[in-house]
Symmetry: D2
Subunit: 483 residues, 4 copies
Amino acid sequence: MSFETLQSPLRFLHSTLRDFRPPDWLQHYQCWWEKEGQGTSDHTDRAGTPPLRMFDLAGRRVDEILYSPDYWRMLKHGYQSGLIWRVSEENAVFPAALGIYLTSFYDPGLACPYTVSLSTYVPLLKHGDAELQERFLPRLLQKDETVWQGATWMTEIKGGSDLGANVETVARPSGTEWRLTGDKYFSSNAGAELAVVAARSEGAAQNVRGLALFLVPRYRRDGQLNYFIRRLKDKIATRSVPTGEIELRDSEAWLLGRAEDGIYLILEVLNVSRVANSMGSVGLAQRAMADAASFAQGRIVFGKPLIEQPLMRRQFEDRLHHLRAAAALAWKAVELLNEVWQERPPYSDRYHLFRLVAHLAKYWTAEVAVQTAKWAMEVHGGLGTLHEYRAERWLREAMILAIWEGPAHRQILDGLEVMERKHAHRLLFQLLAISVPASALQQIEARVEQHLALPREEKEAGAEAVFSELAVFTANSLLRAVE
Amino acid sequence: MSFETLQSPLRFLHSTLRDFRPPDWLQHYQCWWEKEGQGTSDHTDRAGTPPLRMFDLAGRRVDEILYSPDYWRMLKHGYQSGLIWRVSEENAVFPAALGIYLTSFYDPGLACPYTVSLSTYVPLLKHGDAELQERFLPRLLQKDETVWQGATWMTEIKGGSDLGANVETVARPSGTEWRLTGDKYFSSNAGAELAVVAARSEGAAQNVRGLALFLVPRYRRDGQLNYFIRRLKDKIATRSVPTGEIELRDSEAWLLGRAEDGIYLILEVLNVSRVANSMGSVGLAQRAMADAASFAQGRIVFGKPLIEQPLMRRQFEDRLHHLRAAAALAWKAVELLNEVWQERPPYSDRYHLFRLVAHLAKYWTAEVAVQTAKWAMEVHGGLGTLHEYRAERWLREAMILAIWEGPAHRQILDGLEVMERKHAHRLLFQLLAISVPASALQQIEARVEQHLALPREEKEAGAEAVFSELAVFTANSLLRAVE
Amino acid sequence: MSFETLQSPLRFLHSTLRDFRPPDWLQHYQCWWEKEGQGTSDHTDRAGTPPLRMFDLAGRRVDEILYSPDYWRMLKHGYQSGLIWRVSEENAVFPAALGIYLTSFYDPGLACPYTVSLSTYVPLLKHGDAELQERFLPRLLQKDETVWQGATWMTEIKGGSDLGANVETVARPSGTEWRLTGDKYFSSNAGAELAVVAARSEGAAQNVRGLALFLVPRYRRDGQLNYFIRRLKDKIATRSVPTGEIELRDSEAWLLGRAEDGIYLILEVLNVSRVANSMGSVGLAQRAMADAASFAQGRIVFGKPLIEQPLMRRQFEDRLHHLRAAAALAWKAVELLNEVWQERPPYSDRYHLFRLVAHLAKYWTAEVAVQTAKWAMEVHGGLGTLHEYRAERWLREAMILAIWEGPAHRQILDGLEVMERKHAHRLLFQLLAISVPASALQQIEARVEQHLALPREEKEAGAEAVFSELAVFTANSLLRAVE
Amino acid sequence: MSFETLQSPLRFLHSTLRDFRPPDWLQHYQCWWEKEGQGTSDHTDRAGTPPLRMFDLAGRRVDEILYSPDYWRMLKHGYQSGLIWRVSEENAVFPAALGIYLTSFYDPGLACPYTVSLSTYVPLLKHGDAELQERFLPRLLQKDETVWQGATWMTEIKGGSDLGANVETVARPSGTEWRLTGDKYFSSNAGAELAVVAARSEGAAQNVRGLALFLVPRYRRDGQLNYFIRRLKDKIATRSVPTGEIELRDSEAWLLGRAEDGIYLILEVLNVSRVANSMGSVGLAQRAMADAASFAQGRIVFGKPLIEQPLMRRQFEDRLHHLRAAAALAWKAVELLNEVWQERPPYSDRYHLFRLVAHLAKYWTAEVAVQTAKWAMEVHGGLGTLHEYRAERWLREAMILAIWEGPAHRQILDGLEVMERKHAHRLLFQLLAISVPASALQQIEARVEQHLALPREEKEAGAEAVFSELAVFTANSLLRAVE
């Protein structure tokens, strides 16, 4: 593959996944980014966290987020192109996954609104009753600029890993509905018209079993705000998505599914987001490499382009391989998600396999994104450290992709668990058997089983090495199968 | 070593380098940082690139950099503590190296002014004639707030690696003096009272042999500005040092040493800076770890502190080892520099050994700093992505330390050269023989020699792997010797 | 008076008020500003609204305002110099009034913390019971950096003029104490250790009679925050005082005086602030003129300094006169305040005279400050529109002085009321009789009485003209008496 | 006129100028502002001075101004609507004058690019030779987004009033062309494709007679930059026009007209800008009032809307009258400009009358804008001091309108001169005779003639009072004639 291919998300995907043919709408979407979207993405990042206008001049609480008009156009363009409504029409997650990958090449932060809108649509579709679906589903699937956005708010101030202990938002029944009160601390897409929110009904257990998932619209039926944005968080990147602290104060809410299944619904939401994050990480890593390649082609050092210096060339080649393998891994996560996304508990083996691949993909693609972006900055030399150019942005963006939806530590431990409890690694090795020599497979299998047989403490302590080996092995194997 | 030790630069150094005893002035300097300096460092980073007031109200060009008054106090405090003047008094580079390490724990950017002041002092001391020394040396060694700062300006717009081709600044003789005209593109410590500047005298060769090193004060003898700051660069970090684009316009200048030795003088300057950068990287990496440890001690997950989770604990232990080994490597570079810093060409073998160790140290400590800072952000989870807290700052700072004074690519190729041309690796292996089993030494020696025997193209292409192996081996070996 | 005198607050005051001799501490305070404070003031303005860190890394709400360390030193310096504690020691308001005038020459925003600390001290001194005084008075009068700051929080989201209708903060009794719940919208000196707060006890009348004044410390007895800062307001100026939106949530509070006197206590507080605002406006207007004079002396136009052009010179002379008259007016307000500041209702005639003079002074000095600052910008020409220089700052600052403590509209109507209901204008004319020819006095007296005899609607509608005439007349007359 | 009319620029103009009927294109332009432009204007002001990217990644100087994409759309919309090309098609200045007025209601800064494009078009049309016109005129008159912008750069670092002494830019002949070298200090619309620039040809007199006017395109014939933007100035307002410091370095240039007429050409340019500034000031003052009216209608104080309080209502009525009179005055300046704009020296009496009216209009409309905006902030109370709302913006904008094209001081002295030397006041009184009673006219005539008869020093010193009286008298008289 020539480095030139890096410059186009769709050409790159096509030349990595043998069978992939980009649909027309996606071609148009890429053209739009090249022609119009890119400038807005640059400006939105430069502008930093937008101001939040909490009150209008008449003293009414409005919680208006003051992006540029451009921003809103850019944001709506993705919805109108079909990142969400096509998921419904095609009954498949591919439109969202591909759209998120493509978006992330140009603006990794903007992929978040689409991701959380998808992660709102899915539980509503699977777990909402008829009335809820009738009221809210069409809003999320509008094809014009009146489309509603979704959001998924779980994390509270004490941290996002241990939700069972840390969710303090309380749900109180109110007729057939509920009222929620509590504070969410990292709330992506603050200002969304519809959010799914983790809360604990009064008296429920103080652990993960006590959690339930609720649907919370932005406005009450009387037109008042149904939740408040305490402030927007001043993040280092993904400035195209407003992340806020949310105050729920007797907020109107509806329960999704059965209260006792809450934790499963929450994890379903997270798993969708992890897959989206993986595709986004690939798009971002590709972008960082694409920019590095352009630069290294134009920069003359010791008489020839930087990219033609042997060491630099080798680095490009190695990294391109890793990028393609990461793409194959992320794509497998998408394919598996597409098989299982409508499953409800109890889940099939295929679902457990999906979970393991999703953890591997989230972990590894983010790592590739960070290391690629870091290296791309170094390729730019001093210019890579200046806000004036794009290189430094990709590392900032990558760090957020590495952290949200759970950092490496979380993916490793959760991946360990699904191997221990569901033997998902065995399902994985079956999957890889197609493209991998048996001997290689036996070797990694032995390595994993040995590790799983260790005492708990030791098993956890040493999990990073084995998990990263497994991720690299899986990615390389999958690449061999599809390229 | 307990993680608690990470919180104190001097305690950490003491417990890593068996023989190190922090002098009193350094203890006081650390106390000052804890009590006063830290807040100013935080504020300076938050405030971003300072404004540059180019003209006063009367229309006179003044190029005044508008930091807070606090900043200037913080900056001068290091000079007054003796980071530079003690080098002269003790005739040793240790005060600067230790001061820079300590400073970097609290403000990695502020280490730069001290580094470039040292790198101005050294060539003036070694290569300046009596008149120049009399005029300028005392200024750089003042013990009060009237002290002058130095600066080292080489890089121009076409890039900093290939100085031979890219320096377009011209030096024209003017009596016994010179006049310089040209633009410097990455000029750290813009506004310094005295700079050493690379330029090419009219008619000199268009390669590295044509370069010479000049001394340029901020003000002309008539009190006018002797150089102009076109603008300050909007860097992602090291905001405690103003980096600017400098316009030299018939600027008064003095030649240092002989014109034909220019490139050696320039490389001497760079090598001093690389060692300083290595100590700074260790200080910064330690800081990132120290903050991660504090956080992980306070954060409760699944019923106990995050730092006590087995996987997290293992990560802390592994990284602490790497940090200590990096400290041993950087310290060896300091010790070697201290042996050779007053050498002039032709250089001794010891100097070549120093060069190799300096390249290894610059390369590896920066890598450790970046990876540690990246991981420390992940330990903080979502909080690690917020400007509100310190975690994200350390990664920004680390990226600059990794890039300036030459990124990895540069260190690897220059390291390769000193091994090829001066067999510096053999000197290194002799050095390590004290603390390393012969068998291990033979193995790495074979690995390196084999690599050096490859055809040029292949040798360069594959240099990264062997160089990083060598760096890790050296660092670990040195740690074993000192701890 | 030469324009040179404008450059020194104390020399200006001395040469305007014949009998004024600046005490030593004030001389030192001015020296400190010249030498140290000025730079911090510039930087604080440039830095804009400081960030608010709402939570620490452990998730505890802390509401920490992130100014530079310099700022805190600058702020504390005024307290330590004695702006507040000298009021207690000398049992007179002069130290505060003079200190606020002097501060405002260098940093009009910083005068606010001193003003509201005074306005917290005074009601506590007058209306607090022995226990409250014992607990809190010494804190406000500390002479070192442990001194507490005060604050005065009345205004809520619906507006500050009609407090009777708009205060919705509720006070509920809790033993001998109270608990306050409500939101304050313009809260100067957010973060102060002690605030006086207007609230309505449950069931009290929905008008001004229902208001009472409470004392609210920053921390509860258990060490938790007793009020929250929802956000800091992004003001155009006075950036040296953090103005926030305050959330009182069951906040521990103590009643000051009797609940039924609440509105009087509130007005007493406001009146102190108005006098302080008047002195601040004079200091600010003087500063704008001083800077304009410096500039116009240095700027050469058509062959001579701008200030020597006849039209420009005339403008300087006219404005200097107005400035001195404004100073005389503000000073009279101070003297009257000093006579009556310890009065309690029912008030003496002297108090009513004070009120009228305070309204005239607040109104007129602010108008002088705005118009002087506007004109000073014009004197600077294009340079006057740049953030780089100070000229534009003074107009921003002046606009805030004109608005807070009630804009012109409010002063005029309240001034009208005290003339109608208390005949305060007659007391004023008696006061002026000393320095004004009887004929002139009769003329203005007739003008005022005629106006007061108009039907209500017409009287209010036309009040601006007569009030501004009265202000100018009073200011000029007072100047004649003191100069 | 109801206050409601204030909300629409075209309705306001229609109801003030009896005979004015807004053309269709202007109606559409206003609709566009309401629907799309307003948000972009708000965002552009909030975003502050845009960054300037001086070099691209390849090290080429590019001087790219980094506004949002929205901005460029907003900017181009005015050109495409016909603010400039209609002047050519209709052979009249009305389209520009009306468009600038309307633009200023929504974004006073954006009116500047149109103004200076007009002021570039006019001298090129009047004084350019056939070749120049052929090359450049069509570019300025393009109807699509390829349209070129103009700019008018006179002022240098020593100030803009005394051009004769302060212009140091030198023009050297180069065949039939010229090369310019020098620095311009306040250069509006930096980055414009074509600028008219004041310079002094080598050896020319060191006074106004030595000045000539040149045409300078952005790019040289070889595609390189023909001038450089040293930096953008950080202004308090008019952020929709990038104002920069311009470096001319042997810049390709063409002489406009005859060198010895230079000063006349420069003054013609200034006079066009003054008229545009007058219309802009009216639009801005109207906007400030419109916003104040909306606010005062919505704010309830003491039981009824603020705007219905008698004093407030009276202020609105008085100010509305002043606004309408200012509009009549500005409009008369437009009508006179339209009569004389194609005159060349020697000028007719009508031209001298135009000059006087232009000075009166520039002076008085800016004063009305500033005072209206200041008062509108006070109407908003505390909300008027917050960046969050629009009120404070209008005062910032107004201050710039008051200062550029010469502050009051300049207009008064230049107005004085045209009365003294050309007796323009007598022409003015003839003009006003239609709508003013003879007695009133005699009174003001006597006042003016008396003043003109004073000794020079005294005449200048006292000029402000008589000039402002004349301005108010003229404005009121003109209003009577047209309403």
